[in-house]
């Protein structure tokens, strides 16, 4: 009996040890990022894993912009783009989700099928054609173009929100309709207030798009004006062959500063995602 118990204990220890080893492997680059950002040396540290001298000089430099590194400006640019994208995308997603979930109209199924097909085609492919179009309207190198690219097609990402609206009991909407409520009022005053988790999820996920994106920003902001960059492009440019030796630790510091708020938002988003799905199921 005793032997069995100790056997079980050792299994648990081994099990958790395995997870710990995996977690360490997964976190090594992240740890290296944080450590390097506190290095006193401005280039890449190639001889030891931990920096030889610790300092916060790269963080200080990051907030004293020069012609190459204008981190505060990039951060502000990305933030502005993200705010606009967030508002437009959230509206679009919720509108499409509600229309396809709660309302019934003849074109519903064909539209949804079309949506599924378009959704499966990665947006990457239309990318160069979008670039052509924006260029001929003089919208490259402008935030308006970038915001439009991020948010215009966002309606296609309605499926998760639709899944949530699907669980809102139909009887409630019917009752409201019988009481003479307009569809618009049902949407704004009944369904939306009940849908907090999914709204938060949609807001955060669309806010994160410009922060996480690299391709579109690289393609549209291609004039090489540092002060107009987003964080992604700015940090990418810091690692040019000619710059990397002077800016690598600043890149790390910038990476850390961007990653912290984004990671937090991402983890909150995951929580609301789970809540949105399970919370909805309970109601239904």
């Amino acid at each position: 009996m005793k032997k069995m118990k100790s056997n079980r204990t050792s299994t648990i220890v081994l099990h958790n040890l395995l997870i710990a080893v995996l977690a360490v492997i997964w976190l090594v680059p992240i740890v290296w990022l944080v450590c390097t950002s506190f290095s006193a040396y401005s280039g890449m540290n190639t001889s030891t894993f931990f920096p030889k001298e610790w300092s916060i000089s790269s963080y200080i430099k990051l907030f004293h912009p020069d012609t190459v590194a204008q981190f505060p400006q990039w951060f502000l640019n990305t933030f502005i783009i993200a705010c606009f994208t967030c508002v437009i995308s959230t509206m679009f997603v919720l509108m499409v989700a509600y229309a396809t979930s709660v309302m019934r109209f003849p074109m519903r199924k064909p539209l949804m099928n079309l949506g599924v097909i378009l959704n499966l085609f990665p947006g990457m492919l239309a990318m160069i054609a979008v670039y052509f179009t924006l260029k001929s309207f003089n919208l490259t190198n402008s935030y308006v173009g970038l915001i439009m690219v991020y948010s215009a097609s966002s309606g296609l990402g309605y499926l998760i929100a639709k899944g949530f609206f699907d669980t809102v009991p139909r009887a409630l909407c019917e009752a409201a309709r019988i009481d003479g409520c307009s569809e618009a009022r049902i949407f704004f005053q009944m369904v939306l207030p009940m849908s907090r988790p999914i709204i938060v999820y949609t807001v955060i996920s669309s806010f994160l798009v410009p922060w996480m994106d690299f391709v579109y920003a690289k393609m549209i902001l291609n004039a090489g004006i540092s002060s107009k960059y987003t964080v992604a492009i700015g940090l990418f440019k810091m690692l040019d062959k000619s710059l990397i030796n002077n800016y690598f630790t600043q890149f790390c510091a910038g990476g850390v500063l961007v990653s912290i708020p984004i990671s937090i938002l991402f983890i909150i988003m995951q929580k609301f995602y789970v809540e949105g799905i399970t919370g909805g199921a309970v109601k239904g």
């Binding site: 997870i19 085609f121 391709v215």
Partner: protein, 486 residues
């Protein structure tokens, strides 16, 4: 089984055509059975409304019609007639005797002609639908009037947009966004693939024109000077498919294993561990991937460690490495393997999250009854957990495969400026051994302005994606269980 699957896609297409056929039938009926004013609406869109005393609507429709005509005359007519040639007048500087300055002649811009012609076609198409719907609607009004029903006033019509027509209010903007930023660009891409739009034919300085299937010919290896393009295409396509296969399979299996590990009863503090793994994917990819690329660079930290512990020497002895460092991301073979490995690092936590969600919804009654019946843990796993996981996440494998075909970030961020090809044939076509079709396409447009080939490649990628997409789509329709909760 096979037949049934095909049936679902067919059904969707059928449903789509049924809607269109119904629309035309309604239009035909309206034209043949409508009164004089309905027929007059074919010419003057406001006529029917005018008859039913809906003056505001009549006015709006008239304005719309006038706008369409003005659009056609003032805008479309200056581009569409040149659509066949994409312009014939080259840009030239001419000395104007009156102003005593050199000025540009009234030249054609091929790209503007192409884009605005396409735009005109789309507008005309949309207008055609509005025009047909208008006639149908007017005929409905006529029927209502004949039955002596109340004809809604303009205000009532407006109010309908937040009542029974609320979906139109909701959907207009998003659908317009998708049309402009997804649909029209795809059409434009298809058109450009049939022209010779490249660095030698850049508007406004010079013209480009239709070349038929020439670009596809050179892509598939035909045509003297461009043989290298065919070679590069086969190489890149091969690697794209290999990459997509391994990237999908490794992260899928890894994700399921990790989630099983984390969700096991033996795990202490599962939430903490999960968060640790999520941190890796919460860091934006441009940070984590650019970092990892320097982590593994030729003079990077991993190389230092490897040479310190003698691994580099060992690899050199057995002939895997010929340089003084390990070319993790700068030599073919090494780079290919490393990219897939790094992708595991970045992709497994994602799959873990998805698999965890599925595992949480495991049918607990089945598990319970299996346990009561005395099934062993392994039996439960093999007979219940695994089939369920595969059933739910299986279709996503196809979508993931398509996503990986277009996984721009991983490849571009890891290899751009790091990997230089030594293969002359590849270099001639601006391709590298580690390129995916999309990264190649991106470089062709951004650095070499070779739009014609990029568009042709884009279409090929499109077709590949379409095949897999249709498979996934069939599965999805089959698994469409909306309404089960309602």
């Amino acid at each position: 089984m096979e037949k049934k699957e095909r049936g679902t896609a067919l059904l969707a297409v059928k449903g789509f055509f049924a809607v269109i056929a119904g629309f035309f039938a309604d239009f035909g009926r309206a034209v043949s059975e409508g009164d004089a004013f309905v027929k007059l609406s074919l010419l003057w869109m406001g006529a029917g409304y005018f008859k039913r005393k809906q003056y505001i609507k009549a006015l709006l429709m008239t304005i719309l019609e006038a706008a369409a005509i003005i659009f056609t005359v003032k805008f479309a007519m200056s581009y569409v007639p040149k659509f066949g040639t994409l312009g014939t007048v080259q840009m030239e500087k001419v000395f104007n005797m009156k102003t005593m300055k050199s000025e540009f002649n009234d030249y054609d811009n091929s790209f503007t002609i192409l884009l605005f012609s396409l735009f005109s076609f789309v507008v005309w198409f949309a207008f055609l639908i509005v025009w047909m719907r208008n006639v149908i609607h007017v005929y409905e009004l006529q029927k209502m009037a004949e039955k002596g029903k109340h004809i809604p006033t303009f205000l009532e019509d407006l109010r309908a947009y937040k009542e029974e027509k609320f979906h139109i209010t909701l959907l207009t903007l998003p659908v317009l966004g998708i049309a402009i930023f997804t649909f029209i660009p795809i059409l434009l891409l298809i058109l450009v693939a049939f022209t010779n739009y490249d660095q030698n034919h850049m508007p406004p300085n010079s013209l480009f024109t239709w070349v038929g299937f020439d670009n596809f010919m050179s892509l598939f290896g035909g045509g003297g000077l461009t043989v290298t393009f065919g070679y590069a295409f086969i190489r890149v396509l091969g690697w794209t498919l290999v990459w997509a296969f391994f990237a999908t399979i490794t992260t899928y299996i890894g994700g399921i294993l990790l989630s099983l590990l984390l969700n096991s009863k033996n795990t202490r503090m599962p939430k903490l561990w999960r968060t640790l793994f999520i941190v890796t994917i919460a860091v934006p990819q441009f940070v984590s991937l650019l970092l990892v690329r320097n982590f593994f660079s030729n003079g990077g930290i991993v190389n230092t460690i490897c040479s310190n512990i003698g691994l580099t020497g060992f690899l050199r002895d057995i002939g895997l490495v010929s340089t003084s460092y390990i070319p993790f991301l700068s030599a073919p073979g090494w780079a290919h393997v490393m990219i897939i490995l790094i992708n595991i690092w970045i992709g497994v936590p994602y799959q873990m999250l998805i698999a965890t969600g599925v595992l949480m919804n495991l049918p607990s009654d089945q598990l319970e009854s299996a346990r009561v019946d005395g099934a062993s843990k392994f039996q439960i796993f093999r007979k219940i957990t695994m089939p369920y996981l595969l059933f739910v996440t299986g279709p996503a494998l196809v979508t993931d495969f398509v996503k990986n075909i277009n996984n721009f970030n991983v490849i571009y961020l890891l290899t751009e400026n790091v990997y230089t090809t030594t293969n002359q044939a590849m270099a001639n076509s601006q391709a590298k051994e580690v390129d995916l079709l999309v990264t190649w396409l991106f470089r062709l447009t951004q650095d070499y302005y070779n739009y014609k080939m990029a568009s042709a490649i884009g279409i090929v990628v499109f077709v590949i994606c379409a095949v897999f997409t249709l498979i996934a789509f069939n599965r999805m329709i089959k698994g469409d269980r909306e309404g089960t909760y309602q």
